[in-house]
């Protein structure tokens, strides 16, 4: 398969993204990203993009069907608002990775900083390391798997996303509770770990989700309003 290479040391990001939005081939390689913003944002076909180096804000944002791999770290907003496809990063991701993403799979082999999966709406996020505080804040749908630890405020104001954490969890966020890990959860966890290329035993994880106390109006509290 032919691979077209873009060197961002000599080519602007706009030229790269214009090509990725109207691709001539199926496979691309990006060299010297050096922290540039919006690298490979807005892909809407099933192309593969290998990015060799650290990227800046909003890498692979809005991805819809592409398969993007970052061989390095990413700044704020990795794969934000992804619709479908796969984004994989070999290093660490900064804040708000996978924010508002509707679908697809985001694999962070290292750790993610604060607010990972904030307002996630259906994406699957698998983190090999740990996630920072306030992760899965207002998470509406999708699954998040954390093989390390989760910081304080996990799942604050969560709706129907399912969270799995293997390590320690700080103070849980408002309306987030630990839930029973049943067979169907172990099965979906095994699938997600396999998709990410990880081989942890699903039984080592604990499940967290919504207590559903916040988003139903309690009639007995009507007088408070």
């Amino acid at each position: 398969m032919e691979t077209v290479s873009f060197d961002l040391a000599t080519t602007p990001v706009r030229a790269l993204n214009a090509e990725l939005h109207d691709p001539a081939v199926k496979s691309y390689e990006v060299l010297h990203p050096d922290g540039a913003h919006a690298v490979a944002a807005g892909i809407d076909t099933g192309i593969a993009v290998e990015i060799r180096g650290h990227v800046g804000y909003y890498c692979a944002g809005m991805n819809d069907g592409g398969s993007v791999t970052v061989h390095g770290n990413a700044a704020t907003g990795l794969a934000e608002n992804m619709m479908s496809g796969t984004v994989r990063i070999t290093g660490d991701a900064s804040q708000s990775a996978g924010a508002t993403a509707h679908g697809g799979l985001l694999v962070i082999e290292g750790s993610a900083s604060m607010r990972c999966g904030i307002s996630m709406k259906g994406v699957d996020i698998v983190v090999g390391g740990s996630v920072g505080p306030m992760s899965a804040f207002m998470a509406q749908a999708g699954r998040m798997v954390v093989c390390g630890d989760a910081g304080d405020g996990l799942g604050d104001s969560i709706y129907e996303a399912r969270l799995y954490v293997r390590g320690r969890v700080g103070e849980l966020g408002a309306d987030c509770v630990e839930k029973e890990l049943r067979d169907e959860h172990r099965a979906e966890l095994a699938e997600l770990l396999a998709a990410a290329g990880l081989d942890h035993d699903p039984a080592e994880f604990r499940r967290y989700g919504s207590a559903r106390r916040l988003y139903h109006f309690q009639s007995e509290q009507a007088e408070a309003y």
Binding site: D34, G35, H54, G56, T76, Q95, M114, G132, M134
Partner: protein
């Protein structure tokens, strides 16, 4: 939004390259603050000869510096004055001759440059690429709270060989300012970041080190901040407890660097082998020379 960069060199062999490296870092955060830029350099013997004190000052237009009896170099809006005396005496001499001038830095090692315009052009105006030294920092400003003037540029340097650069805004600075004023601290401006710098300076003057001073700042100040604070022998970073403003740190055996974004670090020597991490919310990171 503002941009911060800082570089603390552990390897003396890199000292001649400080300015060139700092310029590349500054250019990496231009888009975060294209209004104005300030720079601080520690140990630039081109402008502060050994055994001299230096005062960095924004002089009124047409000021005649002949009466200063000192070595004078001009870099855009900033004038650097150096003389073989203690910093306090040189500050008094400058203020005596130019009562309305704004002193923006003083010390045995520190030179501070401030100006309005595109940061890349300002770097040329400051002669930054040729600067030498052991530590430096820079700030690009997108002003939100006060006018775009050289006086409003960071760094805020209010104690000998001290600097503070700030990305964010403090929300309780007015009450902290009142308390500091009660203690006898004088202010140059209404700027919230100056309150942070005065607070740190008052703590250092009481004998605390940078780490202790920033722990106290974290307990006292409310708001959004990533701060880089430097002193005669230190380099320290702290972010607010919910980490609203970005920061990344890189370390090798030869240097420690911090920046708002990785792209400002991308050109540093051996960056591919640096330990890269984001400073955790509310934690103080400090290094000593």
């Amino acid at each position: 939004m503002c941009g911060i960069v800082g570089l603390h060199l552990r390897d003396p062999e890199l000292h001649p390259q400080l300015g060139r490296l700092l310029e590349s870092m500054l250019c990496g955060v231009v888009e975060r603050g294209p209004d104005s830029a300030g720079v601080a350099v520690y140990g630039d013997r081109r402008r502060v000869p050994e055994g001299h004190a230096a005062v960095s000052v924004l002089l009124p237009p047409g000021a005649d510096t002949n009466g200063l009896d000192a070595e004078v170099s001009v870099a855009g809006d900033t004038t650097i004055v150096a003389a073989p005396v203690v910093p306090e005496d040189l500050v008094a001499r400058v203020k005596g001759l130019f009562p309305t001038a704004r002193v923006v830095g003083s010390g045995h090692d520190l030179t501070v440059y401030k100006g309005v315009g595109h940061p890349r052009e300002l770097a040329t105006t400051y002669g930054l690429a040729d600067a030498v030294g052991w530590q430096g920092l820079a700030h690009t400003r997108m002003a939100t709270e006060s006018a775009v003037t050289p006086e409003g540029c960071h760094p805020f340097s209010v104690g000998p060989d001290q600097c503070l650069v700030h990305n964010g805004s403090f929300s309780n600075h007015a009450s902290i300012r009142r308390e500091l004023v009660r203690q006898g601290v004088e202010f140059d401006s209404e700027n919230d970041s100056e309150v942070g710098a005065r607070f740190v300076a008052s703590r250092l003057a009481q004998g605390e080190d940078l780490e202790k001073a920033l722990l106290a700042l974290r307990e006292t100040f409310d708001g959004f901040y990533t701060l880089l604070v430097t002193s005669a022998d230190g380099f320290a970073v702290v972010r607010d407890p919910i980490a609203c403003k970005p920061a990344v740190i890189a370390e090798t055996d030869a240097w420690v660097a911090m920046a708002s974004e990785f792209r400002a670090l991308a050109a540093l020597p051996d960056i591919d082998h640096a330990r890269l991490y984001e400073p955790e919310p509310g934690r103080v990171y400090a290094w000593r020379r």
